[in-house]
Structure formats: C-alpha cells, structure tokens
C-alpha cells in the first residue's frame, strides 16, 4: 500500500504542476486554455528531437521547456489578445473555442510531422529505498523537480512584488490597475510561465513513462480535473488536488484496474463541483 501511495504522490506532483499553469491563466483572465496539454507535448517532442540529434539530455530538456514557453508567448501575443478584449462572458466562450482550435492545430501538426515520436528520459542508476519502498531514480528526480518548482512558485507568489501583482490581478483587476499594475503584461507573463510549467511536466513525466505525441488531450483533461478540484485560480489548491488525485489514480489503478482511472478522476471532479463548487482551496489565490 505504501508503494502505491508513494507512486500516487510522485504522479500527483506532476498533476499539480500541470494544474498550476491552467489555474493561473484561468484566474487571471477567465480563459481555460484547452491547448495546455499540447504545450507540454510541444516541449516533449522538441526535447525528443534534440535528443535524437545527439544533444545532451539536460540541454534537450531545457530546450523543450523553452520551446513550450515560446509557443505560449506567440499564442498570447496573437490569439489571446483578441480573447482578452472581450467582456467576461464572451471571453470564456471565445477562449474555449480558440484554445480548442489551437489544440487541434498543434496536435494535427505534430502527429503529421512526428507520428511515432515520444520523449522518454532514462534516468540511470539503481533503485533508491524510501520508507521501505524501492523507488526508481527517475520517479524521485521527477518529484524533486516538481517539489522545487512548486515551492519556488509558492514563494514567488507570497514573497515577491511581481508575485503579489499577479495575485492582485486575480483578486481584483480594477484594483490592480489603480495601483499601477498593467494586467495585460501580467497575463502575458503568466501565459508564458504556464506554458513553461506544462513543458516542465512533459520533461518530468518522461522520466517515469514515455510522453507520446498524442498525449496532449489526456494532459489537458488531467489539468482541467486538477484545476476544478483544487479551486480555479488557487496555486496551493492545484498542488493539494494534484497529490490527492495522483493517489486516487494509482490506488484505483492498482486495486481495480487502469481502465477505471479516468472515470474515477472525472467522478472526483464532478463530486467536488457538487460538494464544494469553489474547489478545495478555491478563492484563495
């Protein structure tokens, strides 16, 4: 059981990191980025191609993450601008439609160009014992990266001036303008950060299992579930929800079967919406 729970935590940390980006973009501008998972796949495929060309793994991983950030920047500077110009109701719908379209375009392009490409980062070395359970080094490294990234994010949002500015836009955009904060540049910054985080998830995920070119939609759905359960706009909520859902995922997969996990995760999201519509830690950006 300990092993299953530990595996769940390893997976959950990746879920958390995946959800954080989506939740921040939503909190800032009311846009649920349905291309979020595709940004992760962009990073995975870019890194896989670089690895294939003989680039060292660390550099390839970094390049992949930066590539996701670049695509995020291009999206923000082009399509997202027109979304943010809309009033709230129109923004939600247009945001969903456009990001869904972007998701199809990215997925279509990648599957067309690199149909069998997948990123698999092999972290060598023997297993390490943790709480009496033998863990793969890849799992531990992936978790360590996710923990460091999560801790850095929390510290950034709590302690830095820019982090506070991001939270202020989430909590009251007009109030933020009145103290001299430009919500548009904050949104650009967060959209790029969110893409970089998605890219980072692709890298850490590939340390335990391959990330194929078709993984985008699954990653997007996972991010949506994490975001809904954690509370839209909440960074700590995304991590708490991520870890809980990770454990739910591995436990149900271990005791019932892999086929049931998607249903269980979606049921968890549905249950949260019914019992606690604002999510576990909603309204606490």
């Amino acid at each position: 059981m300990t092993a299953v729970v530990l595996d769940g935590i390893v997976l959950g940390l990746q879920f958390g990191l995946l959800g954080v980006g989506l939740t921040l973009v939503y909190g800032l501008g009311g846009v649920l980025n349905l291309a979020h998972g595709q940004l992760a796949v962009v990073a995975a495929i870019a890194a896989a191609l670089a690895l294939g060309a003989g680039v060292p793994a660390g550099v390839a991983a970094l390049g992949g993450v930066l590539m996701a950030g670049l695509v995020g920047l291009i999206l923000d500077a082009s399509l997202m601008r027109s979304v943010y110009r809309q009033p709230t109701e129109g923004r939600v719908l247009l945001g969903l439609l456009l990001t869904l379209g972007v998701s199809f375009v990215i997925a279509g392009f990648l599957v067309w160009q690199f149909p069998i490409e997948a990123l698999s980062l092999n972290i060598g070395g023997g297993a390490v014992e943790l709480l009496g359970v033998r863990m793969r080094r890849g799992s531990l490294l992936a978790s360590a990266i996710a923990l460091v990234a999560g801790g850095a994010l929390l510290a950034f949002f709590r302690l830095s001036t820019l982090g506070r500015a991001v939270r202020s836009v989430i909590q009251d955009e007009e109030g933020a303008k009145l103290v001299g904060i430009n919500p548009a540049s904050i949104r650009t910054f967060i959209f790029v950060l969110s893409a970089i985080l998605a890219g980072l998830v692709a890298i850490t995920r590939s340390m335990t299992s391959p990330v194929p070119v078709t993984a985008g939609i699954d990653l997007t759905i996972l991010a949506l579930v994490v975001t809904v359960v954690g509370g839209l706009g909440s960074v700590p909520g995304a991590f708490v929800a991520g870890i809980l859902l990770g454990i739910v995922n591995t436990v149900s997969s271990f005791y019932i079967g892999q086929y049931i996990t998607s249903i269980v995760l979606l049921a968890a999201a549905a249950l949260t919406i019914v019992l606690r519509p604002s999510g576990l830690l909603g309204q606490r950006p």
């Binding site: 001036t161 500015a165 009145l178 103290v179 001299g180």
Partner: protein, 232 residues
Amino acid sequence: MLEVNGLSTGYLGKDVVHDVSLGVGTGEAVAIIGSNGAGKTTLFRAVCGLLGISAGSIRFDKAEITSQAAHRIARQGLAYVPAERRLFPFMSVRENLALGCYPAAVDPARLEFVLGVFPPLGQRLSQRAATLSGGEQQMLAVGRALMARPRLLMLDEPTTGLSPKLAHAAYRALDALKQEGLTLLIAEQQVPLALSVADRGYVLEDGRVQLEGPAEDLAKSPAVRRAYLGVA
C-alpha cells in the same frame, strides 16, 4: 494640477457626463457634489483612465493623460479610491499596502506615515482585507493609495457604508492629509462633510456642472441648501 476640459463620457456609446470642465490647483481640496446618478463616478472613472471618453481632454500636472491606460495614470501620481474600494480581499493589510507603491519596494517611513494617519490598520497588518470592518476597509483603501505618495488623491464617496461617526472621522483624516499638502478631489453625496474640507466645489446634475464656486459660497447657495442640505 488637474485640468479637465469639455469632457463627455458614458457607457455603450451613450454619454452620461456632458461637456464637463473642472480644475484642481496644487494643494487644493475640491468637492464634486451631486445626487446619486448625477455622473460623479462616471466622471472620476474617465479621469483616471478606467473609462474611455467621447470628447474633451484631461491634463495632469501639465501632461496630457487623455485616453491613457489607468495603470499609467496611477503611476504618474494620480491615485483614485473608488467607492467600492477595490481592495485585494484575500491579501493581508500589509500586502495591500505594499502593492500601493508597486513596483517599488515599501518605504518604511511611508508605511509609518500611513499607519500614523490610520492607527487601527497597524493592529491588523496580518489580517485579510476581506475580514476588516467597513471603516477599516476604507482606511486601507485610502492608505493603499497614499503609499505611492500621490500628488492628487481622488476619492469617490469615501463615506459609503460608514456610520456618521466614522464618516466624520474619515473626513478628519482627509483634512489632516490636506494640511500636509495633499491635493484632493472628492465626490460626495454628503454635502456638509464634503464642503467642510473642500476649498471649492462643483455641483454636478444630470452629468453637467450646474454650479461652481468656493465651498462657503456653495454652502450658502439656496439651490444647494434646498437640494442637498435639506433646508427650504
């Protein structure tokens, strides 16, 4: 310090404020008085860049700020405290104050000054803004605006939701700030309070300036006394 010329503005292409001109001199306190729906808030939102304008111009400290984005205007030293305060509800009092001087770091002397103006805030620095009382929230909203050392402070209905006692306390604090040399532009329905601090005033009705003049003249004006002071 502030010159508004022939300003018209409104919502969805329909003007609510028509051809309004007003001025605020350095160190002056000016009141915009008018009933609910007279256009005071619309006028203020247009001046500070939250609302587009259909005609006219706005100059702040001799610089043209017409149609500039709100965050740019704020950074030039024009602070606006709206009636609904627009605090960051899930952040502490300290964080709200710190964001007042964004992107600069908090100047301890300035923080001390603001806490000196509003002592109750000093005891609530770690408390979330949403959990403060109405009076304390108003103090925090003004305190946050003061953190950036604004040259002009615009307040929209600063006594909204306050008891008469707290409303008087709020105006005493504003008077103290005025004595310190801060320039004030205040929109207010509670005319006696506004005129107690203001040097000059404008009466806004149906989006137009109907009357203007020194505060004591307005207080004596039969029209103002009839409409706002309940004197026949």
